[in-house]
């Protein structure tokens, strides 16, 4: 918001936070990917294509995982604020 350039300390904190934030997103994506593969994909590997049922399961799984992420985020955040 302000135009004032950040100090060295602030900069280090911004970089540190940005790094943790990116690690968090990568881990979220990886956990989501592995979880939805476990829930939706047939493991006998009769073919290397995803079939229609698997594809729609994956789409819904990603959507629901996203909602669970938001729901749990609200619960964790509400610790500081009045419920």
């Amino acid at each position: 918001m302000a135009a004032k350039p950040p100090s060295t300390m602030e900069k280090e904190q911004i970089f540190g936070m940005a790094e943790k934030e990116m690690e968090y997103r990568v881990e979220l994506f990886n956990k989501l990917t592995h979880t939805c593969f476990n829930k939706c994909v047939e493991k006998r590997y009769k073919e290397s294509e995803l079939n229609m049922g698997e594809n729609s399961c994956i789409d819904r799984c990603v959507s629901k995982y996203w909602q669970v992420t938001n729901l749990v985020g609200q619960l964790l955040g509400s610790g500081q604020q009045p419920m």
Binding site: M17, K31, T35
Partner: protein, 93 residues
């Protein structure tokens, strides 16, 4: 493991203490975010098994809420017991 090292830190100058506390802050941020991710993974796995719709139904949502709350209470209790054991180990020396 090696608790002796923490004693050495008192001898370090002010700037090193700042560096140490920054390191601890960074580890705590990372740990909180990892805990968030693993809590989501756990409660999703335990509560969501049907993929006929793309939104959570009421039952799944209730399950996720309870799972998260229960895990947080569990985690706090483990934290207290863990601290007691750590203290016991420290005073034994």
């Amino acid at each position: 493991m090696d608790k002796s090292m923490l004693g050495d830190l008192d001898n370090l100058p002010e700037e090193d203490k700042v560096r140490m506390s920054t390191m601890i802050d960074q580890l705590q941020i990372r740990d909180s975010l990892r805990m968030y991710n693993s809590l989501v993974e756990r409660c999703f796995n335990d509560c969501v098994d049907s993929f006929r719709r793309k939104t959570l139904d009421k039952q799944e949502e209730t399950c996720v809420r309870r799972c998260a709350e229960k895990f947080l209470k569990h985690s706090m209790r483990v934290g207290m017991r863990f601290a007691e054991l750590n203290q016991g180990a420290a005073t034994q020396d």
